[in-house]
Symmetry: C2
Subunit: 250 residues, 2 copies
């Protein structure tokens, strides 16, 4: 199995390193990832400037390509220009910070998997429920490898990706995989209004995440209860129930 | 009616100017828009740097705020910090270039409307099927005003936005509104591989849009047939049909 790995925390993050180590046990791994942190970029693409691909070494050997772009850019350029052969699977992560409920829409990690799916590649996004870069990623990496190894037995349809959220717990405290739905937790946004050294006003986003989902059938609820939450997501966005009842006057 | 207007082409684009002019006939308009072109940013948020809000004048009067951020940033900061009262409606556009089918995922225009919806605001995204900034936007603006004026009679549920795509045709050639579903047209991606003046390699995205949708019940097909395509879209992404059949082994 040939696995393409990308992320949104950048090619230097501990999450992608742990993921690559774990996936090498089950296949050949190619890494094409952003050259720096790209959190909250969503499904952004670089269309107005050129991309560079820089070879990166780790442990004395070729590790992969660093791209001066977004996670979705990385997937596109990997498949179009950098890889000689189309991979069998894409795994995006391990993100530092969960991507549950509404965060799926902002997530570069999930958008990389979405881009992979749109380009015909079975795709997984995986995130760890800790923003702390010193948190051990090996448990999440082990679950990523477990899921990747059985991916093709699961018969996931080609319009669907798996969005995985792992609790930041020791292995023995994790209750195993749980299939979940997207939750409804959301942000209560606020901006701090500050003055710069020149006395000019600026704003800094300081939202508070409101975790309403306690149901263990939701991504957020299952993760907080100690499960590795696996949500199958797709992008048919039409509100079909509304189609028959919407009468717009010219 | 108090209407918040934003876009992703930037506060200087002809599309937002035409939209504001048309909406002023039906309500009070507040403008909070990016200070520059932000195409293909998707639902990106600015989390790692501060935002500035600059007052912009047009025709000798206050026009609105320019923000050094993404369309989604503009909506958040407008509602959290800049506007004294919550608006009744958000209209995002008029985008230069259609946002049909898969482009919905990349679109800053649509993401601004999505952000508005997530913050409890009825929201419309409107795009014109022309990338040429000299194309007349007044027809699209007139249809935006027609739709905004009847929005509350349409009883759109709070989890849904209306994504509108207008053909670049004279008013008399437009066949009127048509309720549509998201199409399946997509990009065939390619990167041009070039050398910079220093002889170093770089890549430039040069995808080709493949318009497969001819069915006039799709956004792309209806727009190409001369209709103003209105697609109700929502963001419950779970592939619910799969939930019962997904058995993952620990």
């Amino acid at each position: 199995m040939h696995i393409l790995v990308t992320n949104d925390d950048g090619i230097d993050s501990p999450g992608i390193y742990a993921l690559v180590q774990a996936l090498r046990a089950i296949g050949t791994v190619s890494v094409v990832a952003p050259d720096r942190q790209q959190s909250a970029v969503g499904h952004a693409l670089t269309v107005s400037s050129p991309l560079r691909a820089t070879k990166v070494r780790r442990d004395g050997a070729f590790f992969g390509y660093a791209i001066n772009g977004t996670p979705a850019d990385c997937v596109k350029i990997a498949l179009c220009s950098l890889l000689e052969h189309k991979p069998d699977l894409l795994v995006s992560g391990i993100n530092h910070g969960s991507n549950t409920s509404v965060n799926i829409l902002y997530s570069g990690t999930v958008s990389a998997a979405t881009e992979g799916m749109m380009m015909g590649l079975p795709s997984i996004a995986i995130s760890l429920d800790s923003l702390d870069y010193s948190t051990d990623c090996s448990v999440a990496a082990a679950y990523a490898a477990k899921l990747a190894a059985q991916y093709f037995r699961l018969q996931i349809p080609p319009d669907t990706i798996l969005n995985v959220n792992v609790p930041a717990l020791p292995l023995e405290c994790i209750k195993g995989f749980r299939v979940t739905r997207q939750g409804t937790s959301r942000w209560e946004d606020a901006y701090e209004r500050r003055l710069d050294p020149m006395g000019r006003e600026y704003f800094w986003l300081s939202g508070k995440y409101c975790s309403y989902d306690t149901d263990i059938d939701t991504d957020e609820g299952a993760m907080k209860a100690g499960y590795v939450a696996v949500t199958p997501i797709q992008y048919h966005l039409t509100n079909t129930a509304l189609l028959q009842n919407l009468h717009i006057h010219d």
